[in-house]
Subunit: 383 residues, 2 copies
C-alpha cells in the first residue's frame, strides 16, 4: 500500500481505520487477569475476548455462561474470539482446546463450579463499592481449627475489621457467611471481595465494624453422615444432602462458634451473632438459624429462597429473638425473586424487621451476592 | 480370554497382572491436586503421571523441570504419561496441548515462573515438618497498606503465631521473608508452607514465636526507578534491576517496617528484627541488611549467594550488631553451595555467629527453601 496516494486513505478507508483503533481502545484487559496479561479483554458491552497461543490446534472455544464461542486462528498461531455480552460482575469460564477443557493461562484462578479455574470480571456501574481504596484495611485471616464433629482439621477465613485488636477491650459482632454449591471457603474472600466491601463501608461510616467467618459448607471431613428421618424420600441426592447439611449444622453450632468465641474479640451472644449465605449457603442459613433462634439474631439469604410466615411456628417468639431478616435475589432470578419479595412483605406485615433487595440486571452470580452483602452489612447489628 | 484355562494365567501372565496392580497402587494422587482429582499422580520414585481428556488433540505433553514428556492417547480420548523422577518437594509444571501451554485442570495453582499455574508435590522423607497437624494454629493474614515510596496500595501477608493478641502486653520479634524472582508475596504462604512450618516448630518448642511479613519484591508500583550510579555498566537488565532493588529497599525501610510496627504487636527494635529471602529475595536481603545494620540483627540468605568477610568493612561493628548470619543452598546448587559453606566458615573464624545449611538432594526449588526456613527459624531470635 506504500505507493497509494494519501487522498485514497481519506473517506471510508480512513474512517474504517479510525473505527478499528477506537474499537481496540474500547477493549480493556480484565482486572482478573494475571499480572501483565493483555487478554482476556472486556468491552463496554460486557463482551469477553479471549486469546490463546495454540499453533497446532484445530478447534479452540471460549466457554462462558454455559455457552461455547468459537475462536479464530491467526497467522501467528494464536486463537482469538469473543463472547456475547455478559452481566456486570464476575463469571467463571474456561477454554476448550481440541476437546480439552482447561483454564485460560492468562486469567487468575477462583474456586467455583467444583473446580479451581478461570474467572473474568466485567466492569460494573457500581464497582466502586468493591474497589481497592486507600482506606484503613482490615485483614482476611486464613487459619485452621479442629472439629470434633467432622473429626478433621478445618480451613477457615476470618475477616477482622480495621483497627481490630488495638483496643483489647473492644469486642465485635460476628457474621457467619457461607458460599454456594460447588464453591468453598475462599469464594467470599476472593471473587466476593468481602474485605474490600467491608473496609469501604466502615471507612464511609455506613456499616458497624464486625467480624466475618467463612467456613466450608461441603466439607464433612470424616463424619459419618446422619441418616435422614422417615419420610425424607428415597432420592439418593436429597438423602445425601440431608446428611451434609446436618453435619454442617453441628460443625457450626458445636465447633466453629465456640472456637471463634474463644479465639477472637467477639461479643459472644445471640444479639451480636448473624448468619448469611448465598444459594446453598442461603439454604443452610435458613435451616440453621430457624432451628437455633437462641444462637443467631439476624438472617441473610442471598439467592437461596426465603422464609414464609407459615414456616414460623411461634411468631411472637421469633420477633422477640430475630432482629433482622434479609432476602435478596438477582432481578433475573425468577420466580425466586418475586416470591422472596412477597415473603419479605408478608413478614413485615407480621411485624418482622424484614428486608428484600433485588440486584438489578444480574442473575445467579457473584455480582448479585456482592451487592447483597453490601446491603446486608448496612442493616445488620444496628440495634 | 474367557475360555482360556486358568492354568495359563499362572506363571508369567499372572506375575505381570499382579505387577500391574502393585504398580497402580504405588501411584498416589498428588497432595497439590484439586479436591477429588485422581491425577496427577506421583510414585515412590518421584515420577509425575498426568492425565487430561483431549479427544481431538494430536499431541499432548507434560512440561516439568524444563523437560517435556509425551503423553499417550487412550481409547477414551484421554492422554496419559509420566515424567522422569523429580526431586522431593514442590515443582511448577504445565501441559502443552497442540502447542498451547496451559495449566493442568486437575492441579491447584501457584504463583511462580512469572505466572499462576500448576504445581505438583512429590512426597519427601521429611515432609512431617510441613504437615498440617492438630496443633495450635497461627494465622496467615492478607492485608493492604499504602506506600509513599511506590505511591500505591501494597498487598502483603503477615503470619502471626498461635495465641497472638491474647495477651495484648506480649510482643513478638519480626522476620521479613522474601520470595524469589518470578514469584510474589503468596509463595511463602502457599507452596512454602510457612504457617505449617512455624506452627509445628512452635508446638514442639523448637522455635520462638515470631511474626513473619511477606512483601512483593518485584512490585515498584508507580515509583520512578532510580538511575544507577556511574560505573554500574550499561546492560539494561542490570540497570533496571538496580532501580527495582532500590525501590524495594525504600519500601521496606521507610514504609513497610513502620506500618508493621504501628499495627502489630512487635518488639520494634533492631535486636528483634530479621530479614531472610530465597534466591532474588536472598540477594535483596543481603543488600538491605548490610546497608542497614541498625535495622536488622539477623540475616538469612537461601539459595541467594553468601557474604564474604571482605565485604564487611568494619568487622567489629558488624559483630556488635549482627547476631546471626545464615546461608543455605540445595546440595545440587553448585558452585554456590560450596562457596557459601566456605564463606560461612570464614565468617565464623572471624567471630560471627554464622551458619550454613545444605538441603540434601535438592536444587534451586521450594524443598530447599522450606528446609532452610525450618532451620533458620530454630536459630533466629534466640538471644
Amino acid at each position: 500500500m506504500k505507493n497509494l496516494p494519501l487522498a485514497i486513505l481519506a473517506g471510508p478507508v480512513l474512517a474504517s481505520l479510525i473505527g478499528s483503533l477506537q474499537a481496540a481502545e474500547a477493549w480493556q484487559p480484565a482486572t482478573t487477569n494475571q499480572p501483565g496479561r493483555e487478554y482476556p479483554r472486556v468491552d463496554e458491552k460486557g463482551r469477553v475476548q479471549a486469546r490463546v497461543l495454540a499453533p497446532a490446534a484445530t478447534s479452540v472455544q471460549l466457554d462462558i455462561g454455559a455457552v461455547r464461542y468459537p475462536l479464530t486462528k491467526g497467522d501467528d498461531g494464536s486463537w482469538i474470539g469473543n463472547s456475547e455480552p455478559q452481566d456486570e460482575g464476575f463469571h467463571y469460564y474456561q477454554l476448550n482446546i481440541d476437546g480439552a477443557n482447561v483454564p485460560d493461562p492468562n486469567s487468575r484462578y477462583y474456586y467455583g463450579a467444583n473446580r479451581w479455574g478461570s474467572g473474568v470480571e466485567i466492569p460494573a456501574k457500581d464497582e466502586d463499592f468493591y474497589a481497592l481504596k486507600n482506606v484503613p484495611h482490615g485483614e482476611l485471616r486464613e487459619t485452621y481449627y479442629h472439629s470434633a464433629t467432622s473429626k478433621s482439621i478445618r480451613h477457615i477465613f476470618v475477616y477482622t475489621p480495621p483497627g481490630y485488636g488495638k483496643d483489647p477491650g473492644k469486642r465485635y459482632p460476628v457474621l457467619y457467611l457461607q458460599h454456594g454449591g460447588g464453591e468453598n471457603e475462599t469464594g467470599w474472600g476472593n471473587q466476593g471481595h468481602t474485605a474490600r466491601i467491608m473496609d469501604n463501608l466502615i471507612a464511609a461510616g455506613k456499616a458497624k465494624p464486625f467480624i466475618i467467618v467463612m467456613e466450608n459448607g461441603h466439607d464433612t471431613g470424616k463424619a459419618e453422615l446422619p441418616k435422614p428421618p422417615e419420610g425424607t424420600g428415597q432420592d439418593p441426592r436429597s438423602r445425601r444432602f440431608f446428611g451434609h447439611f446436618q453435619v454442617f449444622e453441628n460443625v457450626v453450632i458445636n465447633d466453629l462458634i465456640p472456637f471463634i468465641d474463644a479465639n477472637y474479640l467477639t461479643q459472644a451472644d445471640q444479639a451480636q451473632r448473624a448468619m448469611a449465605g448465598l444459594s446453598m449457603g442461603g439454604m443452610q442459613t435458613r435451616a440453621i438459624t430457624l432451628k437455633h433462634p437462641d444462637v443467631f439474631s439476624a438472617i441473610g439469604v442471598f439467592s437461596g429462597g426465603s422464609i414464609k410466615t407459615a414456616e414460623i411456628q411461634d411468631m411472637d417468639a421469633f420477633k422477640n429473638k430475630v432482629k433482622l431478616v434479609f432476602f435478596s435475589f438477582g432481578s433475573k432470578e425468577q420466580p425466586g425473586a418475586t416470591t422472596a419479595k412477597a415473603d419479605a412483605e408478608a413478614l413485615k406485615k407480621a411485624g418482622v424487621n424484614s428486608h428484600y433487595y433485588e440486584s438489578p440486571g444480574t442473575a445467579h452470580e457473584w455480582q448479585s451476592w456482592r451487592r447483597s452483602l453490601h446491603q446486608f452489612a448496612q442493616l445488620v447489628f444496628q440495634d
